[in-house]
């Protein structure tokens, strides 16, 4: 299906229209329970995101990069992944984390300012968030190389924004992937802005997806506010990766509904009208309309989903806030496999200083 949508011709894969109508030939054919699970994940993501913003304003959580508007990209992609696939995230991936089963309490714990929240539970193949833009891309390619070497039938997914496509690591990583035909799926969440700088300042190319052509593998642009389009493209690309058919670049065309982070004010660089226009294309609304047409959604179901999401979020907040703060040992112990004498001395000095303060 991916090859039917040529990015060089400006074609974009879309399964659901804005009224929730489906293009029959492109329906990925998910079971009713799967469709509802996807919806519930999207609702949870939005609830968890809104809660993080609230906590930040109350001083209970640090600077935060909100995900609103990206629920279809994140949940659609992660829902297509298998348990032993690997994920190399960027910093705006809440729906990925929720869908892949990363404890929300850990996620909050990290954004509250504790490294312990960045430790993926054992067995969960999620690398830590990459803050330096694009730097996770060659790392994901290395994991793909290792999967090939170990003859594992897995895919390695990495996400990034449109700004990252200007970084050298985007080029170096995708170029490597093309040369070695690694089992990678590169997903650009093109949300039109790198903080304030618009997508047009990142590249003169008409699409980001078409950059894949130069690396010798397929690229496809999908409607990033259409969860079924993201899911369908991801499922095919993941299958190609696992089956040795090489990497794919997916450009999910979407919009960052919130500020870049809680330290940003997007009103400085974009109009209300533009934001309102995108509100109309809201990914959760669109999917809800589709479920309604299929008879899978009504007010009672909505209330149950919202209540469950609220409970899920509140439980995670309580758990995150109950976590102990780090000890001096915690912040020293993981610098090296074994602590060198100089670090031991510095740790002892810090502890002595703290002890003096207590007396």
């Amino acid at each position: 299906m991916i090859e039917l949508f040529d990015p060089l011709k400006g074609e974009r894969l879309r399964v659901l229209d804005e009224t929730g109508g489906i293009a029959p030939g492109l329906d990925p054919g998910l079971a009713e329970a799967e469709l509802r699970t996807i919806y519930e994940r999207m609702v949870r993501t939005r609830a968890a995101d809104a809660k993080a913003l609230k906590l930040q304003r109350q001083g209970r959580l640090g600077t935060y990069a909100p995900s609103r508007g990206h629920e279809a990209c994140q949940v659609g992609l992660a829902s297509a992944m298998a348990g032993d696939d690997w994920f190399f995230p960027y910093f705006r991936d809440l729906g990925m984390y929720i869908t892949l089963g990363y404890p929300l309490a850990d996620y909050y714990h990290l954004w509250m300012g504790n490294e312990a929240g960045l430790r993926s539970p054992d067995g969960l193949n999620i690398f830590p968030i990459a803050i330096p833009v694009g730097s996770q891309i060659p790392q994901a390619v290395g994991a793909g190389l290792a999967a090939k070497y170990r003859k594992l039938r897995i895919a390695v997914v990495t996400t990034f924004g449109d700004g990252a496509t200007s970084e050298g690591d985007f080029h170096e990583g995708l170029n490597f992937a093309g040369v070695f035909r690694t089992p990678n799926v590169f997903v650009c969440l093109n949300n039109q802005f790198a903080i304030s700088v618009p997508r047009a300042r990142q590249t003169a190319a008409a699409t980001i997806a078409q950059k894949a052509v130069a690396y010798g593998f397929p690229g496809v642009q999908v409607d990033g506010n259409d969860v079924l389009a993201v899911y369908a493209a991801a499922r095919e690309a993941l299958g190609n990766a696992r089956d040795g058919r090489g990497p794919t670049l997916i450009e999910a065309y979407t919009y960052r509904m919130g500020d870049h982070t809680t330290s940003d004010d997007a009103a400085r660089y974009r109009s209300k009208e533009e934001v309102q226009e995108w509100e109309r294309r809201d990914p959760i609304l669109r999917f809800r309309l589709y479920l309604g047409k299929k008879g899978l959604w009504d007010e009672a179901y909505e209330k149950a989903v919202q209540d469950a999401a609220a409970e899920f979020v509140e439980k995670a907040v309580a758990e995150a806030e109950a976590r102990p703060t780090a000890t001096p040992e915690d912040i020293f112990a993981y610098t090296y496999a074994a602590m060198p004498p100089e670090l031991e001395a510095q740790l002892a000095d810090l502890k002595a200083f703290l002890e003096e303060g207590r007396r």
Binding site: E115, P138, T335, A337
Partner: protein, 324 residues
């Protein structure tokens, strides 16, 4: 067997690759060509293209991909062809290699060894002569290693390849073929984080590493003729640094001279001098002196001698220390 540092490095790589199939060598020209200095010669034929990988010319991706390999349990050995070309990968090294253990509270570690030729004294092109080891020593989480002879090169590299910490393994190009030495055939480790007293003396302590060790030895022999006994401490691991060994030596001799090729300001000599000030002040009979490259860009080959610390400059500093 008598061998050069290149042969010693090659043997360490081959033996560890034989022992541990998680070790993957990757970089530019490391495959069929055997490396521009021939340090990886024969590995491609012996272990195949999956384990000895010629990569695109992209330093950041070479290190970035190596990081990703460690996620799936491999132990990559990326080669950066010259230290002067490591800077495109600096972000991967500083932002990820050094920090992953800490930022994931030990879930992910980065057991990779980044090998790169470094240092001046071989009349190379521009960008092929710098020694910027101090940049890496400032980064918590990295281990920075420099051998000064073939025996140490094999043992330190073997220890690095077996280490669970990321290692920047700096190979002094000037020493690659300068000296041959008896090197045991079997695998052995020279422990990381341990300096060595490579020459004993009672009058002053010279602290150096890499290509400055042979220069310091020559100066020490000349000083001996003048009746001055110079002890030489080869730091071997620059970070985390073995401070005890040189502090103990300075407590004995009462005088200290640090020698490095890197520029003086904010070079490791400053850290060493400060450590001596903190730990051996009352043993000192003279200020700690430094013989280093000047704070200038390394000159091109015709003028390199003006920059590069040699035995004469070291001997001059020894005399100053003794006259103080």
């Amino acid at each position: 067997m008598i061998m050069t540092m290149i042969q010693a490095i090659n043997q360490a790589l081959a033996q560890e690759m034989e022992r541990d199939d998680r070790i993957i060598v990757l970089g530019q020209d490391v495959g069929r060509n055997g490396g521009v200095f021939r340090t990886t010669e024969g590995l491609f034929d012996r272990f195949g293209p999956e384990r000895v990988m010629d990569t695109p010319l992209a330093e950041s991706a070479i290190i970035g991909a190596s990081i990703g390999m460690t996620a799936l349990g491999l132990r990559p050995v990326p080669e950066i062809q010259f230290m002067g070309f490591i800077y495109p990968a600096f972000n991967q090294i500083v932002s990820h290699v050094a920090r992953l253990r800490n930022r994931t509270r030990g879930r992910f570690t980065v057991p990779l060894t980044i090998r790169t030729p470094y240092g001046a004294g071989v009349k190379a092109l521009e960008h092929h002569s710098e020694s910027t080891e101090a940049l890496f020593c400032q980064i918590p989480g990295l281990t920075v290693v420099v051998p000064s002879n073939p025996y140490d090169a094999k043992g330190l590299l073997t220890a690095s390849l077996r280490s669970d910490d990321p290692v920047i393994f700096l190979e002094p190009t000037k020493l690659y073929r300068a000296e041959k030495q008896e090197v045991p055939e079997e695998a052995y480790e020279v422990p990381l984080r341990r300096a060595a007293v490579v020459r004993e003396g009672k009058d002053l302590t010279i602290i150096a590493w890499g290509a400055m060790i042979p220069a310091a030895r020559q100066a020490a022999e000349a000083a001996q003729a003048e009746g001055v006994g110079a002890e030489i401490v080869d730091l071997r691991t620059l970070s985390p640094m073995d401070r005890e060994t040189f502090v103990a030596s300075v407590r004995k001799t009462g005088r200290a001279l640090v020698v490095h090729e890197a520029p003086k300001t904010c070079g490791l000599g400053a850290e060493i001098a400060a450590t001596i000030g903190e730990s051996a002040l009352l043993s000192l009979d003279a200020p700690v002196l430094r013989v280093t490259g000047q704070d200038i860009t390394v000159p091109l080959p015709k003028n390199e001698g003006l920059y590069y610390p040699g035995p004469e400059r070291i001997l001059r500093a020894i005399r100053r220390l003794m006259e103080y």
